[in-house]
């Protein structure tokens, strides 16, 4: 026996029929798409690294996040990993933005 694969490796699991409807892209989705494009064009990391970071998300996040939420969570992992920002800097900025939004 070997270990179970990560949550992304779904072959053989029963999730029922595939939802084949088209999905509308939101403005937020487009913003995440733009951030990724800046990172890739600026050679901050590769798309293979993004995929690896997506696959490293906790199973509950992987199963509940939208497509672009997974991208953003992975971008955050890589930004910290590459030393562009620290977790503290991100947390501080998020707190500022939340305060501004609430006020």
């Amino acid at each position: 026996m070997h270990d179970m694969p990560g949550p992304h490796d779904l072959g053989g699991k029963d999730f029922g029929p595939i939802d084949q409807r088209d999905h509308e892209r939101t403005d937020w989705d487009n913003r995440v798409d733009a951030v990724l494009k800046l990172m890739l064009d600026g050679r901050r990391f590769r798309v293979d690294e993004l995929r690896r970071a997506i696959e490293s998300l906790p199973e509950k996040d992987y199963m509940s996040f939208s497509y672009y939420q997974k991208w953003l969570a992975a971008i955050r992992i890589l930004i910290v990993e590459k030393g562009m920002l620290s977790e503290d800097e991100i947390a501080t900025r998020l707190a500022q933005l939340r305060e501004k939004a609430a006020g």
Partner: protein, 94 residues
């Protein structure tokens, strides 16, 4: 191109669950298949995923598997197949 396997050749996907970013689907590991076509040579995504260069390039194959070889309790038609892209370092001759 330096592909080891030829179209139509029988291959066996390596088994096991090494750590890291792996592109070979878990459900196909250890399963026998046939080379359907050869996509070309590409930098190894399992190394690119960690910021390495992924060189030398690895041949990537389109491999066809019989569903009944993949799923022991498969109840569909005996000729049903499933295909996947598998890199050469994940394949042995069968």
């Amino acid at each position: 191109m330096s592909a080891t396997f030829k179209v139509g050749q029988r291959v066996l996907v390596k088994d096991g669950d090494p750590p890291g970013h792996i592109r070979t689907p878990f459900f196909l590991r250890g399963k026998p298949g046939v080379i359907e076509s050869i996509h070309g040579e590409f930098r190894n995504p399992e190394e690119l995923a960690y910021g390495k260069e992924g060189l030398p390039k690895k041949p990537l194959y389109f491999v066809r598997f019989l569903q009944k070889d993949v799923w022991p309790d498969y109840r569909g038609a005996a000729a049903d197949t499933v295909c996947a892209d598998i890199y050469e370092h994940w394949l042995d001759a069968d």
